[in-house]
Symmetry: C2
Subunit: 747 residues, 2 copies
């Protein structure tokens, strides 16, 4: 499900921090691990796993789970399949047709492409989006650009009303699922989401099969469940969807949409859009189809949209493999990647899954040679990620108590590609990730991965300097650690990080592959992946070396391989952003009020293309950030003091104190949860990282405060300044306590 | 010829300056003037003038000159036609055809459009560009994006060579004439320039005749003479092209290109571009045609391009009308607008010309009622602007001595449109222009024009704040004067400002009209203009009221209606820009060297799409801007002191001292010329304003210094720091002298 994560979404890094006290990595063992990684074998696994449609409930999805189970077992892992019963709708019928001004049938299955042999394999679901509402509507059409809140404001200013109409939104900017949700909020009767060639078609590169980008007949499937409320089975929030779980009714489930929606190719969408009348689309709404876009909404075009789904429960098959830790068996390092796709799923998710399998095979081989990790390893190949993070969420909810008591870190991957290493996650692991990335060579250039990351930032700083964050600039200019991006959602780390409060990491490569062009279509295939994305699976092999190293270093460290100053600095940079946001909003609101008062929008506007003035909203007040500023300052002091003490004393620690230090730090991230969760979405409890309510995948940091300011919930903002300060204070206090252990104080 | 001038290219303005000492405008007379302005009459003139092709040498061009002459005379002006004989090539044959991989005939005349009756009128020249070289070539094709210097660098980094090939450049970014010139410099054999729908086609609005933007069959004609060297007749630089003028041979004329070139519609261009192979075009090169753009250059596509012109001399007919001044007859206010077009020329230039005629009629009526301007008015309807500013330049050169002795200001207009008032020019007139714009009401909104300008800046500041200059921000936020943009070239003010050193102003309206969509095509017609650009010619009437007011206020002022602090502040802001440019270049060069050294471009780059590192060029040194800083500081002191003294003493000045003050200030702008001119182009002598060598129309301020830094001619930069300081010192000394007159000192 992972979409492109931007290298440019970073956070502050310590230019030079204390060194990690965890013992030096065992380079001989890591070399032995690397020797087991065989891209040719990964190619064979990928070819088999991607040989048929493997969506939830398909025969090949089950076969893949069984194949993965067999492989784990063959490598000596203790493996089993855990099954959950989840509400997952599959389409019984999908209808979309122009009925006015002329009749044109649209939609249906994507056609086979001669160069791509799996594109002719039967059994794929037709293009659809999961968890939309059943319905049958015929209505006027309005083009809503990306279908984001500001797009609806732009329509209102032009007098275009979407109530009772079918909106056509293009993919991009916001997460897919928000488009029909916002359409529904604005009173629309239905929603089409199409792939404009501007985003991932010919405007970005040659189209498949000549190149890798989206041709005019490829459709992006996907989930439109309201996952920013809660992911996983809509009927079993907070608990595992076991056979005997207590379930909501479908009507009670708040994450299922009410209106029908379908995805569409740009070949089909152009037949609708080219016919729209009404005002010309506002600046910035023009995509790359060869005509002027209009908003429609004047009755010229009528569309018939009907979707009916099979709403029965379906099984998801999580493959769970464990290797018991030798000395700290009750501390778990969890590593996951899903195995279900929308169709063949070669890039998404199998490119990451075969990397994870390669790690498991190599670890199994090390174990056969006598090695045992200190901590227990849990490798999970999730099912049902695509519809709603089903497999990972249900497993997390089913095993919540044990995970909260034992898990030290969750490490994720998903679809990967070719190019630059991208790492996101909990910032106390930032330095460990940089160290690991310094020890794995980039397959194309032969330099350490972190050096390539830095060169990329350097070239970007030269050509488009202003777009780098201060931490990225420090990495580019001063050789500081390359910052981790913040995690939002969009893959299986979500329940572990956002709901359980485990630290999490996510790895992948991107920038040079073209899997975005066939994302969630029939053509995300072995042929596409090995031709346009990662020929020879060199990067899938590199991903195994990187993630495997992190797994081993965390699992084998006597005491945590963490550096808390990096986390503290990053949080401080988030607070700076939020304060700047508040001030920008406040002065902007003031200025807007003055311009409305002065009638400046009418005076400046073109009366032949009337656009009313923006509606003034409740003006942003000045906030008292004092409690949060104090908490961040305390966090920085505590983190710096701990890191220094740890660097000096950490490696020479007596076993009994090691144990107490581990105990003090194992669940420190869980202190970042507030049991009340975020406003309106209590499932999301993390006060530092969250998926945005209106970004879907994209991270919002300090979300309780930031989103409240953005959404003008000013009382919430004040409340969450306090709540966020409180979790940071608890975190700092725990660091102080851990430093007491280091320094021989305390009980 | 004027293309869109950006509101965003501004300069620093005094937030609050001294008031102008010139006597208050005679509002009763201005009301009487306004009462004569009749948009319906302007419509009739426009319809007649735009009823047939009126390019240089066409029968209708001559008929238009004669009609304009009759009109001036009928209003009581002393009018005549002055004729020059100029080298102006017209096409005998234009051939362009694909010959490989398949044969497709391209080019030829634009087709008639049913809704537009003049589009069926015969006699138009076929689409071509003037002053290209005759030639007949068949060659491989390379797409060069906008054909600007950085585009050639990007091609070189991708290993694509244009030598001996035909380049296809899209219109935009740089001036048309630079595209074949740069192609020639890089060894290309020919050049096609086409209108991509991204710039002025369906990506910008509905296309003609449904809307006003460029359809796939409309072609932009234009000049490709190397006018940044010198405009006007290529055979008679510096002198008027009178019948007996001494002429260069065609081979001696440095402004005529050597290679053949033709303009093209996007309908035709897509047939070439869609077939190109070779590397995918770099980021930012993709236009709005519905396929991925490639660079070509690999032999897949072959084009045949052949042009042959009639290089005989042709007549240009300038209509010159004068109204003698009552008390200062030897001080001239010159007002001009050209009358020749590329085809029907309704927007360009006739929309401005009918405004000028309306002024002349109204001034004639005032004269019949007994008024006489204090200074002499010279109204000029120029011919031959489109090919090379022929009429205005030859007249300026023919009358150079008299103009330098008498002219106090040149006021220009050209194609105009609907929307926001745009004013450019010499900054000592900035306050006068703002005062005039406060006294004319915007036709659409009923508010004073300057209020609408300010509202537009306010709305832009809110939505895209960072793009406004400090002076524009001051106008938007603090009600300071709206800054004048700097004049480059592209219309008839050029010879007067850049060569003779007269102060100049240029007026027009834009932002809401769509004449850009048919610019220089057959469809720049009465139908288009009155449908999509300025229905009812309300803005053409408003232009007459604005320009007429400025003419009257300057002509009737006892002493100059100028404020020198505005000029000084603007020059100071230019110096800030140039210093920032030098520093950005210096640090960028240093950083680039480090990255090349570190092999960062290879490491960061995609080896499957190889792009070599940029070539390091001579690094920008630190410059000693001291002399220029001192001169600017002195200028500011002298200007402020003069303005204050003038505000206090100016209106009460005794007649003898008025005369001495006028004498001291009349030619002060000529002190800004350096007789050596700019490096490599001595015709351009102004040290503050110039058209860029590589922008064509766009202004470069402090050009001797700024362009030398940009072009890495560092010795020139040092030389012109001194030369520019010297002209500013002379200007400041003259202000001191004029203040001496005000204050009763001096001889």
């Amino acid at each position: 499900m992972t979409s492109l994560r931007s290298l440019l979404a970073g956070a502050a890094a310590l230019a030079l921090g204390a060194s990690l006290p965890a013992q030096a990595p065992d380079r001989a063992r890591e070399a032995a691990f690397d020797a087991q990684i065989d891209p040719a074998e990964q190619m064979r696994w990928l070819k088999e796993l991607a040989s048929g449609p493997n969506h939830v409930g398909s025969p090949h999805d089950k076969a893949n789970a069984e194949m993965i189970l067999r492989l784990f077992r063959s490598w000596g892992w203790d493996a089993r399949i855990e099954t959950f019963q989840v509400l997952y709708p599959t389409p019984l019928s999908t209808t979309v047709e122009l009925v006015g001004p002329t009749r044109v049938k649209l939609g249906g299955q994507e056609p086979p492409v001669a160069a791509d042999d799996t594109s002719a394999v039967k059994g794929a679901l037709p293009p659809y989006v999961a968890y939309q509402g059943d319905g049958d509507v015929t209505a006027d059409v309005v083009y809503v650009n990306y279908g984001m809140p500001e797009d609806y404001k732009a329509l209102e200013r032009r007098g275009v009303d979407v109530r009772g109409k079918i909106v056509v939104a293009r993919y991009g900017v916001g997460w897919r699922g928000l488009k029909p949700l916002l359409a529904q909020w604005h009173g629309a009767a239905g929603c089409i989401i199409y792939s404009d060639p501007h985003e991932d078609g010919y405007a970005k590169g040659d189209v498949y099969p000549k190149g890798g980008m989206r041709p005019d007949f490829a459709v992006q499937r996907g989930s439109v469940m309201d996952m920013p409320i809660y992911p996983g089975d809509p009927l079993t929030p907070d608990v595992g969807a076991t056979a005997d779980a207590k379930r909501l009714t479908r009507a009670q489930a708040t994450t299922i949409l009410k209106i029908p929606a379908l995805p569409m190719s740009y070949g089909d969408a152009s037949k609708i859009l080219a016919r729209l009348a009404g005002p010309e689309a506002p600046d910035g709404w023009q995509g790359s189809l060869p005509f002027r876009y209009h908003t429609g909404g004047d009755g010229t075009v009528k569309l018939h949209l009907a979707v009916k789904s099979d709403w029965s429960l379906k099984p998801v098959y999580d493959v769970i493999a464990t290797m018991k830790g030798a000395t700290l068996p009750d501390e778990w390092v969890v590593r996951g990647n899903h195995h279900d796709g929308w169709v063949m799923g070669a890039a998404d998710p199998l490119s990451g899954n075969v990397a994870m399998l390669a790690e498991a095979k190599a670890l199994g081989a090390l174990a056969k040679q006598g090695w045992r990790p200190k901590r227990t390893l849990v490798y999970a190949s999730w099912d049902g990620e695509e519809p709603a993070l089903l497999g990972s969420t249900e497993w997390a909810e089913a095993h919540a108590a044990e995970l909260k008591a034992k898990a030290v870190l969750y490490i994720n991957s998903d679809s990967s590609g070719r190019g630059i290493m991208e790492a996101s996650g909990s910032h106390e692991y930032q330095h460990l990730v940089n160290e690991a990335a310094a020890d794995v060579r980039d397959p194309e250039t032969g330099v350490p991965m972190v050096q390539r990351q830095r060169a990329k930032l350097q070239v970007e700083a030269l050509t488009e300097g202003g777009r780098l964050s201060p931490a990225q600039t420090a990495a580019a200019d001063k050789g500081a650690d390359v910052p981790l991006a913040a995690l939002g959602s969009g893959s299986d780390f979500t329940a572990y990080l956002q709901h359980l409060g485990l630290p999490a990491l996510d790895f992948g490569f991107s920038g040079e592959s073209q899997s975005g062009g066939v994302y969630h279509s029939l053509y995300d295939s072995f042929h596409h992946y090995t031709t346009f994305d990662d020929p020879g699976l060199k990067y899938s092999a590199a991903l195994a070396k990187l993630a495997g190293r992190v797994v081993m270093r965390v699992a084998d460290a006597d005491t945590p391989a963490t550096r808390y100053g990096d986390f503290a600095d990053t949080v401080a940079s988030y607070l700076d952003e939020v304060k700047k946001l508040a001030e920008t909003r406040r002065t902007g609101d003031e200025r807007l009020g003055q311009l409305i008062q002065a009638d400046a929008f009418r005076i400046a506007g073109d009366p032949l293309k009337p656009v009313s003035a923006p509606v003034a909203e409740a003006p942003t007040p000045r906030f008292d950030f004092g409690p949060l500023e104090k908490a961040v300052a305390r966090l920085r002091r505590s983190a710096t003091a701990f890191d220094e003490s740890y660097a000096n004393r950490g490696v020479r620690l007596a076993p009994e104190r090691r144990q107490r230090l581990n105990a003090a730090l194992r669940d420190i991230d869980q202190l970042l949860l507030d049991p009340r969760g975020l406003p309106g979405r209590p499932w999301f409890r993390h006060m530092i990282y969250a998926p945005g309510r209106l970004t879907g995948y994209g991270a919002k940091t300090l979300p309780g405060v930031r989103e409240a300011i953005e959404d003008r919930r000013f009382d919430d903002a004040r409340d969450y300044i306090g709540r966020t300060a409180a979790v940071l204070d608890a975190y700092a206090a725990r660091l102080d306590q851990a430093r007491g252990v280091l320094e021989g104080r305390g009980s």
